[in-house]
Amino acid sequence: MYLDIPRKFSPIIHQARQVAREVFRPISRKYDRAEHSYPRELDMFATIMDGMNAGSGEATAGAGKLAQSGPKGDTGNRNGTNMNTVLGLTELCWGDVGLALSIPRQGLGNAAIAAVANDEQLARFGDTWAAMAITEPGAGSDSAAIRTTATIDGDHYVINGEKIYVTAGDRANAVVVWASLDPSQGRAAIKSFVVEKGTPGMTVERLEKKLGIRASDTATLRFDNCRIPRENLLGNPDIEAEKGFAGAMQTFDNTRPVVAAMAVGVGRAALERTRELLAGTGLDLDYRLQGWTQNAAVRELQRLEAELDAAWLLTLRAAWMADNGQPNSCEASMAKAKAGRVGNEITLRCVELCSHLGFAESELLEKWARDSKILDIFEGTQQIQLLIIARRLLGKSSRELK
C-alpha cells in the first residue's frame, strides 16, 4: 500500500507545472477579460506539447490518450495513462482551467476517440483536435433523451439537430457528436460520430457568455442535413439493447477522474494563494495547535486542506483502478462528486478568507471561485454522480431509482 505520487511521475508533474506557471498564469486574467478571443499563445505551446508527447510514450498531461487499460498479461500493479493524465491536468488547472480546456488536441472528444475508436479511426482521427457534443437544449444530464438523429443514406450518415455547451466547439478541428440512429429505440441507439470542421451542414450558431472558464469557448452547433462518411461512426454500428449506450457512457469512467483532478487543481491554487496571504498577516499556520484554541481562519484553512486531499485521493484511486483494468464507475463518480463540490467550496471560501483582496480582480482568487463552478456541473452534475453512486451501492436500476 502506498498512496503518494511515485517518483517516476516527477518529470510530467514538473513539466505541467512549468506550463501552468510560465504559460497559463501570465495570460490567465487577459483571456478571462477577453472572452471569445483565441489564446494564440497556446498554439506554439500545443506544438511543443505534441513533441513532448511523441517523445515520451505514454507520458502526456492532456486528456487526449485516455483509455481503460486491461491487465495485459502481467497481473502486477500498474500506474499508467490515467494516472498520468490526472497528475498532468491537476497541475495545468492549478494554472488555469479555461486555458487547460483550450489546449489543442487534448480535449475530451479526443478521450472519446481513444476510448472507442477502432484502429482505422485511430489512425485517421488520433491527431485531430476533437471537441465533444452531447448536451442539447432538451437533454442535459439526461443524455438518453438526445434528439439529434443520424440517418443512414447510402455510404453516409445524415445528422440533424442542435448541440449546446460544446467546449472548444468553434476551435476544434472535429466534433464527436452523440446522435440517435433511431429515437424510438432509446439509449441503445445512441452512437457517437466524428464530424470534421467545415463539413457542410454544421454551423456554429453562437458562443456562450459564461460565469467562468471564459478563456474556453463554449459553442452552440447546428446540424442541418450534415452528411458524414459511414466510417465516422465510432465503435459498433449495431443497435444492441443497452450495451451500446453503456459503451458510450464508459468514456465517462475515464474522463470523470480527470475533471475531478481539474477541480483539485483549481482548489489547490486557491488554497495555496490564501495560505500565502494569511501567512503575510503573521498567523502561525503550523499543524500543531489544539483545534479549538487556534485561530479560526487557520482552522478553516486546514479543514479545507483535508477536504481537498480527500478529493485528491479519491481521484487517484479512480485513475489507479482504470489503469489496472478494474471497473471504476462508482469510484469515478465518487471522485467527481467529491472534487466537484470541494473545489467549488474551497475557492468560494478562500475569497471570503481573504476579504476584499479575494473578491477583487487584482488577485486571481475571485476568478478561481467562478471557474470552479463548472467542474461540479460538466461531465455529469453533482446530482448525477450521487445518483450513479447510489444505484451501484443499492443495486438499483435507473427505472427504480430515478
Binding site: 511515485p6 500498474r78 489544539q290 477536504e307 450521487l386 453512486i389 447510489a390 443499492l394
Partner: protein, 434 residues
C-alpha cells in the same frame, strides 16, 4: 438560575426519590430494583489481577523496528500479510465482536470470555519485535490502521479495549529503553497477556494534550506523579498504565504499574464506548521508580499523539463502514408509500454521501499510515486525516440514525450505539491536531 419555592420543593423531592433510605424502608417497587441491578448478572467481566512486572536481570539492548522501503508505485492493494490480518479480524469482528456488542454496551463491561479469545489472537505481538517474543519485523502503522478498522466494524468500544494493550506495546517498542522493553514487553506475549492502557485526556474543556495539568517531578529515587486522567479505556482493570504528564515543562509518558500506591480508579461511564470501561484515574503523590519515564532523548511526544490519531481514524472508518453496511439493506427493505425508501433521492443521496465520506476518511488515514511506514514525514497527513475523521465520523453517526427514522432511535438497531460511539472520535486527546 435562582431557585423559587417550587424549584426548591422539586429539588427536595428529587433528592428524596434518589436516596437510599427509600430502599432500606422497602418503599421502592421491586421492579425498579431489578432494573437497577439486573444487567450485570450472567455477564462475566474482566477483573484486576495485581500483576507484578519484574525487572529483567539481564536486559536486551534497545530494540527498534525498521521502516519499509518506499515503493515505486501508487498502490491500494494489500500485501499477503496485511490481507491475512484483515481477513482474520474481519471474521472475528463479524462472528465474535458484533454479536457481543449490544450486551457489552448494556452491561458497560468487556466480557471476560471475549478477552480470552482475543488473548489467543495475540494482537500486541504485531507490535513487538521477534527478539522480545513478538512477530513484528517492520514498523507497521498501516497494519495498525487496518486492525483498528476491522475491529471497529464489529464494535468500537470492544475494539478500543482490545487495542489498548496493543498501543502500549507499540509505544514501548517505539521509545522504550532496552531495560523497559525487557521488563514489560514479555508480559504482553504470555498466554494471559498484561492488560495495559494509555491515559492522556484530562477533565477540562478544550483539553490540549500539550498543556497537561498532570505533573511529574523528579525525586531522589525517581518521580512523583500528581494529577487526574479521564476516559481511560479499561482504566479500572489495567496492570500497566502509560500516563502523559508534564515533566520540567515537557510532556512525557510514564509507565505506572496498576499496583502503585496513590492511584485511585473510579468508573466513569460515558455517552458511548461503554464496553471499554472508561475510568477516571487520580494520582496523588504516586512514587514512581527511576525507570518509569518512557524512553530517553529520542522520545517524540508529537509522533506519539500522531499514532493515536491514526488509530482513532482507523476506528472511525471501521464504524462508519458498519453504518453504511447496515443502512443499505435496511433502506432497500424498508417500504414507505408503496416502495423501498431507497428509491427516493433524499435517501439514496444521503447514502452516496455516506459512502464518499467513509472512503475519504479511509484514504486519508491510509495515506498518513503509509507515509509513516515508509519513513516519510507524516505529521501533516495525520493531522488532516484526524481533522477530517473528527468531522465526518459524527456526521455519519447521525445520518445512520436518521435514515432509520424512529427505529434508529431505539436500541433495537446498532445505529443507536454507533451514534454514541462515533461521537468519541473527536473527543480523545482533545481532538487534536497536536
Amino acid at each position: 438560575m435562582t431557585r423559587d419555592p417550587i424549584g426548591l420543593a422539586l429539588a427536595a423531592m428529587t433528592r428524596l426519590a434518589g436516596s437510599d433510605w427509600l430502599d432500606r424502608l422497602r418503599l421502592r417497587p421491586a421492579v425498579e430494583q431489578a432494573a437497577f441491578h439486573g444487567t450485570r448478572a450472567g455477564f462475566q467481566t474482566l477483573h484486576l489481577t495485581n500483576r507484578q512486572f519484574r525487572r529483567a536481570k539481564q536486559w536486551l539492548p534497545t530494540q527498534r523496528l525498521s521502516k519499509r522501503a518506499t515503493p515505486e508505485l501508487f498502490d491500494l492493494g494489500l500485501d499477503d500479510d496485511q490481507q491475512m490480518i484483515v481477513d482474520t479480524l474481519a471474521r472475528l469482528a463479524r462472528d465474535t465482536l458484533r454479536p457481543a456488542a449490544a450486551e457489552a454496551d448494556e452491561a458497560g463491561a468487556l466480557p471476560a470470555d471475549l478477552h480470552q479469545s482475543i488473548a489467543e489472537l495475540g494482537l500486541p505481538l504485531y507490535a513487538i519485535p521477534e527478539s522480545l517474543g513478538g512477530v513484528a519485523e517492520h514498523q507497521s502503522p498501516v497494519t495498525s490502521v487496518l486492525i483498528a478498522e476491522q475491529l471497529a466494524w464489529g464494535d468500537m468500544a470492544l475494539a478500543m479495549a482490545l487495542l489498548a494493550p496493543f498501543s502500549v506495546a507499540q509505544a514501548l517498542t517505539h521509545w522504550g529503553t532496552g531495560e523497559q522493553q525487557s521488563r514489560f514487553l514479555p508480559a504482553f506475549c504470555e498466554s494471559e497477556p498484561a492488560v495495559a492502557t494509555i491515559a492522556v485526556d484530562e477533565p477540562t474543556p478544550m483539553f490540549d494534550p500539550h498543556r497537561l495539568t498532570t505533573r511529574a517531578r523528579r525525586t531522589r529515587n525517581g518521580y512523583c506523579l500528581d494529577g487526574e486522567k479521564c476516559g481511560v479505556v479499561l482504566g479500572d482493570v489495567s496492570d500497566l498504565i502509560l500516563v502523559a504528564a508534564t515533566l520540567e515543562h515537557q510532556p512525557r509518558l510514564f509507565l505506572v504499574p496498576g499496583t502503585t500506591p496513590g492511584l485511585q480508579r473510579q468508573g466513569e461511564p460515558a455517552m458511548g464506548l461503554r464496553a471499554a470501561q472508561l475510568t477516571r484515574l487520580t494520582f496523588r503523590d504516586c512514587q514512581l521508580e527511576a525507570d518509569a519515564l518512557l524512553g530517553d532523548d529520542d522520545f517524540d511526544y508529537n509522533a506519539f499523539l500522531d499514532y493515536g490519531s491514526l488509530l482513532r481514524c482507523g476506528l472511525a472508518v471501521g464504524t462508519a463502514q458498519a453504518v453504511l453496511d447496515y443502512i443499505i439493506p435496511y433502506c432497500n427493505e424498508r417500504k414507505a408509500f408503496g416502495e423501498p425508501i431507497s428509491h427516493r433521492q433524499a435517501v439514496a443521496f444521503a447514502i452516496s454521501n455516506l459512502a464518499i465520506e467513509t472512503d475519504s476518511m479511509r484514504l486519508l488515514a491510509w495515506r498518513a499510515a503509509s507515509r509513516a511506514e515508509t519513513g516519510q514525514s507524516w505529521h501533516r497527513e495525520a493531522c488532516l486525516a484526524r481533522q477530517f475523521c473528527n468531522d465526518k465520523a459524527v456526521e455519519i453517526g447521525t445520518q445512520g440514525v436518521q435514515l432509520l427514522g424512529g427505529h434508529g432511535f431505539t436500541r433495537e438497531h446498532p445505529v443507536e450505539r454507533w451514534y454514541r460511539d462515533l461521537r468519541s472520535i473527536a473527543v480523545y486527546y482533545g481532538g487534536t491536531h497536536a
